[in-house]
């Protein structure tokens, strides 16, 4: 019973997903009603899930479940809230998209199942369970990416699937080696082994670490596992792109933190993977930002930018092991940054959905004069882009601040320097969009408003952005207690 209780947040979503699909098939309803019902049910499921998580906190039901395969701790609870929140926003943002599809119930259900997968990625501590969770998320996403079923969407799905499958194979190979070395699939057992491992096992450990990093790097979208990102971001339905860029990435980082910090954090190869992540971070930031400069499609641009952002998160991870005593600072900075990034990128994508719906284009050039036609949307998008740039007092600034802080304290000043210089490069393309919206003449003067769903989602994101920017303490406390678990 305790197991089920702790599994409650996920269970709620699974039940909701089931109800949606079954209800859609069985209940006689008109198309529009079905859409609203699916959305409402999905949101209700998310709400229950969030409430359940809250109950777990209030009742202090933290602890292991399922024979130690899964834990409910501050780390997993943090990500529960994060993913549930993101999913809620994504569902809201997808309402317009669903108008055109007959698979609205399936869509909502897939969002929910992928959320479950990601929640489990953050809360499972056994390789087998992690693998299952990873795949649940991955397969849900393969379908979501292809959801438009047009040429671009399916091409995006093909690329995502092909690379995802290869990276899954790599991950599995790495997991196999970890199992072969430690004889266990449990992260804590592996940690115990790694802590006492002798140097004879180093080649296999390195191989396992790199293969795992490759598989998870695919999710995090860092160089050189980022190649799919621009194409998939561009081809996928925009809400799914948003979902990918925020949730999937965060889930990837959650797993990496669990696996690398808990299992590989102390001992033989911690400095190896720290160096690797540092290098990856530097390259990801630079490549992502530089490539983004030349983009004319805003989704593609945000794709490259998300690569750069992921590189920035990785700075925090590199800082984790580079300096054992400060281990927690790096982790907490990444967790914090993920939180702020969620608001920011979601807000940006929602604005893009709203704007693109209206102007019928994802080309940055077509954003000219949007500020005139829809001042609030433009202002919201501007806030998000500035936050991505790292301009205070928006949430994104604090994210970067803590990550760089962690880097500096881990003796990685060079990495922090590369990070800040990349912020400068990124300013160029982020602010370029703002510039288009504010200083150029619109093609026509017709004013427009986002749909109420999008407006709600947008407002939520921007309010979060500014609130965290002005008073980051609560989110910081949450991320610190989340990180403390991994120590």
């Amino acid at each position: 019973m305790e197991d089920i209780n702790r599994f409650g947040p996920e269970l709620a979503l699974l039940i909701a997903a089931g109800l949606i699909v079954v209800g859609d098939v069985t209940l006689p309803m008109r198309g529009g009603t079905r859409r609203v019902a699916s959305v409402a049910l999905g949101l209700a499921g998310l709400a229950v899930s969030a409430l359940w998580s809250l109950v777990l906190i209030v009742a202090d039901e933290r602890g292991n479940a399922f024979d130690g395969l899964m834990v409910v701790d501050d780390f997993s609870l943090f990500f529960n809230f994060l993913f549930v929140g993101i999913a809620a926003v994504i569902i809201l943002a997808s309402v317009d998209l669903l108008e055109k599809s007959r698979f609205r119930a399936e869509y909502v259900a897939l969002v929910l199942t992928s959320t479950v997968g990601m929640m489990l990625m953050a809360s499972t501590v056994d390789l087998i369970a992690i693998f299952a969770a990873l795949e649940l998320q991955a397969i849900s996403f393969y379908v979501l990416v292809a959801f438009l079923k047009d040429g671009r969407s399916s091409e995006a799905a093909l690329k995502y699937l092909l690379l995802g499958a290869v990276s899954t194979a790599l991950t599995l190979y790495g997991m196999a080696y970890l199992f072969g070395l430690s004889g266990s699939t449990n992260l804590n057992d592996i940690a115990a082994f790694v802590a006492g491992a002798d140097s004879g096992t180093r080649p296999a450990l390195v191989l396992a670490a790199v293969f795992l990093a490759a598989g998870l790097g695919f999710k995090m979208a860092v160089v050189p596992f980022q190649m799919w990102v621009p194409d998939v971001y561009q081809g996928a339905p925009t809400p799914v792109t948003a979902y990918l860029s925020v949730a999937s990435k965060a889930a990837g980082f959650a797993v990496v933190m669990r696996v690398f910090v808990v299992a590989l954090g102390h001992g033989l190869i911690s400095s190896d993977w720290s160096n690797m992540f540092a290098a990856i971070a530097a390259i990801s930031m630079t490549l992502g930002n530089v490539a983004a400069l030349a983009q004319s499609d805003i989704k593609r641009m945000l794709g490259y930018s998300s690569i750069a952002q992921a590189g920035t998160f990785l700075i925090g991870l590199a800082a984790v092991a580079a300096n054992d005593p400060q281990l927690l600072l790096g982790t907490s900075s990444v967790v914090f940054f993920l939180g702020t990034y969620a608001f920011t990128n979601l807000g940006a994508f929602i604005a893009i959905i709203a704007i693109s719906n209206k102007i019928g284009s994802d080309q940055i050039g077509d954003y000219a004069g949007v500020a005139r036609r829809s001042p609030w949307l433009a202002a919201g998008l501007t806030a998000c882009l500035l936050s991505l740039t790292g301009i205070p007092p928006l949430a994104g600034f604090w994210g970067k601040f803590w990550v760089f802080n962690a880097a500096v304290r881990a003796d990685l000043v060079w990495l922090a320097l590369i990070g800040v210089l990349n912020s400068v490069i990124s300013a160029y393309y982020y602010v370029g969009v703002v510039l288009k919206m504010y200083t150029q003449e619109p093609a026509n003067d017709e004013a427009f408003q986002p749909s109420p769903y999008l407006g709600l989602a947008m407002t939520a994101a921007v309010v979060g952005l500014v609130a965290v920017g002005l008073y980051p303490a609560p989110l910081l406390d949450a991320s610190e207690s989340a990180a403390a678990v991994l120590g």
């Binding site: 390195v206 530089v290 490539a291």
Partner: protein, 634 residues
């Protein structure tokens, strides 16, 4: 004793009243108010002089108000009242008073009447402040204000192209000299940490300042003085300064601007006296200035320019006097020169009033139309030449005798100068007042045709002329029993006082200088009066000197075309602007271009082929493993 400061305050206040109440304020009031204020200041100056005489010229000043006190920097505004400043006060206020009275008539009807009096008041006030300053920074403040006022007044008719140029030139050239002054201040502050004038004297005499620093300090001061007092090679602004109204020129040349430089050197005489190099420079520059300016005076055709060059050359005399340790003689000459030079300018103004021109070639025969003007100008001219018993004779004689005492070569130069002075003065007199009237020209006020028949100036303009003529005649007697000597020397520290030269009156020197003067006048008579010798022939013989002189030794060209336009604007600034645009901005934009280019390269990898992506991924994996295991095999 604070009253002179009070007068300064009154004048300053008036100046701003005059400015801001433009319109509702009858212009005449500005004039009256200014004159009244200056009269009070004059009276107070006399009172101050009386006090100074009682004190035998010693300092009766006191430190006044805190101005800037920061850390070791301590600038207090104070008043120095001693023999030197008392004399200067009297000179300044008296000449100023007369000039203002004269201006009432001269400037009548000018649109900028208010502005004129405002600037004039500020001018006089600044000069008074300069004289009274007890602190070198304070001195510098008023020094610059004097420069400012001259700038404003020279450019008074700002719509005239020549006026605006002349004003800017005056300010800039003197500013170059002021840099020296400023650097001098910096040197002395860094050496002694003091800025009070008395403190600096003490430090210099006590040897607290290194000799190099002291020399540099003195030279810096002298650079400032050279700028204001129009010493070679910074004299180029003064002739152009004629663009202002004539009374302004009178004030600038007699009592205010140019006197400031001499005053400065005199004020820091104890410092100069400690540095042989510095004082020699003063003497040499003075000598050069005296000669080259009088040569230029011979060639000038504009009556005011002649006088301007004469001023420069007389200032050269004063500097020479200081350079031979003859501080008494120099200040004495300043004193007498103030009167006769003011008189000359006012006379020139009067002539202009009558003829509407300053071009001597358009005048002639004015003696019979304007007797008062003629006689007063004649007295002034003879004083300038240095004929006894006029004021100029006594003071110039003293300089000559001091020079003989200290450095005979200066004496020789000075004697040549006397001769040349006489030549151009004679030329000026003959061309203007002798011969036939040649018609005059359009006036400054733009009323053509009224000057066909020249006439004497109104009384209000003549009164100052007469008063000044009297002064020019008798002022030389002041020092006949060393009356000025005690005053001028009284404030000096004992060590410096011992260095002062007192050549005393020597018959042979007096005779030789008079003879030189008469010879010069004679030459002038031959060429311009009796026209026995054709001026063209003289010119031909002296080739290429006249051409050099007409081009003013090419200094203007050197400064304006070569330094400013050529080197600074055309060279340095132009090069820098290229550097700015192409190298710096090029680098900035280049970063952008490089980034763009890399962006285009970076996206090429993204060729759209999924398996290519997977390959990159695996290259990364293999690379990472190899990297970790090979680079760092533990």
């Amino acid at each position: 004793m604070l009253l002179p400061l009070g007068s300064f305050g009154v004048i300053t206040l008036v100046s701003f009243l005059g400015l801001t109440r433009d319109g509702s304020w009858s212009p005449r009031y500005s004039g009256y108010l200014t004159i009244a204020a200056i009269f009070v200041a004059f009276a107070l100056s006399l009172w101050a002089l009386d006090g100074a005489i009682d004190a035998d010229g010693a300092r009766v000043g006191f430190d006044g108000h805190k101005w800037v006190v920061v850390g070791e920097l301590d600038v207090h505004i104070g008043i120095t009242l001693d023999g030197l400043s008392a004399i200067m006060l009297v000179v300044v206020t008296s000449v100023s008073l007369l000039v203002q009275v004269y201006s009432q008539e001269y400037m009548r009807g000018d649109g900028g009447y208010n502005r004129y009096y405002a600037f004039m008041s500020l001018f006089t006030a600044s000069m008074l402040g300069l004289v009274l300053a007890s602190n070198i920074v304070q001195l510098f403040v008023f020094w610059e204000l004097v420069g400012l006022c001259s700038y404003l007044l020279i450019g008074f008719w700002f719509y005239k192209d020549s006026a605006r140029r002349a004003a800017t030139k005056a300010f800039l050239v003197t500013r170059v000299g002021d840099l020296g002054f400023l650097i001098a201040i910096l040197i002395i502050f860094s050496e002694t940490g003091k800025l009070g004038i008395g403190d600096i004297h003490e430090a210099a005499i006590a040897g607290a300042v290194g000799s190099t620093a002291l020399t540099l300090f003195a030279l810096g001061l002298f650079a400032g003085a050279a700028g204001k007092s129009a010493q070679f090679p910074l004299h180029v602004w003064l002739p152009d300064a004629m663009e202002g109204p004539t009374p302004v020129s009178a004030l600038i040349h007699a009592a205010t601007m140019v006197a400031a430089g001499v005053y400065l050197v005199a004020r820091f005489f104890p410092v100069f006296a400690e540095s042989d190099e510095a004082i020699t420079t003063v003497a040499a520059i003075g000598a050069i200035t005296a000669i080259i300016a009088s040569l230029l005076g011979i060639m000038a055709t504009d009556i005011k320019r002649v006088m301007a060059y004469s001023t420069i050359s007389q200032l050269g005399y004063m500097m020479m006097g200081l350079g031979v340790f003859g501080i008494v003689a120099a200040i004495f000459h300043l004193f007498t020169h103030a009167f006769f030079k003011a008189l000359l300018f006012l006379g020139a103004g009067s002539v202009n009033h009558a003829t509407g021109t300053f071009d001597m070639r358009r005048m002639g025969g004015l003696a019979k139309y304007m007797p008062v003007t003629f006689w007063t100008v004649f007295i002034a001219s003879m004083a300038l030449v240095g004929l006894p018993p006029l004021a100029g004779f006594w003071s110039k004689d003293e300089i000559l005798s001091d020079a003989w005492d200290d450095r005979p070569w200066v004496f020789v130069v000075a004697l040549i100068g006397v001769f040349l002075t006489a030549v151009y003065v004679g030329r000026m007199l003959f061309l203007t007042f002798g011969g036939e009237y040649k018609g005059g020209e359009e006036s400054e006020h733009g009323e053509p045709g009224v000057h066909s028949e020249p006439h004497e100036s109104p009384t209000l303009m003549l009164v100052p002329l007469v008063v000044l003529a009297v002064m020019a005649a008798v002022a030389g007697l002041v020092n006949i029993d060393d009356g000025l000597k005690t005053l001028i020397e009284g404030w000096l520290p004992r060590e410096s006082e011992e260095l002062v030269t007192h050549g005393g009156f020597q018959w042979w020197i007096a005779l030789s200088s008079t003879a030189a003067g008469l010879a010069g006048l004679g030459v002038a008579w031959l060429v311009y009066g009796a026209r026995v010798v054709e001026s063209d022939r003289v010119r031909h013989i002296a080739e290429p000197l006249p051409e050099i002189l007409e081009n003013k030794y090419y200094l203007d060209w050197l400064y304006e075309e070569f330094f400013v336009r050529g080197l600074v604007l055309g060279g340095a600034a132009w090069l820098l602007s290229l550097w700015d645009r192409y190298v710096i901005d090029g680098a900035v934009n280049g970063v952008g271009t490089v980034a763009r280019w890399s962006a285009d390269q970076a996206r090429l990898v993204q060729a759209g082929q999924a398996q290519l992506y997977a390959s990159v991924m695996l290259i990364g994996v293999v690379g990472a493993i190899a990297g970790i295991l090979i680079i760092d095999p533990k």
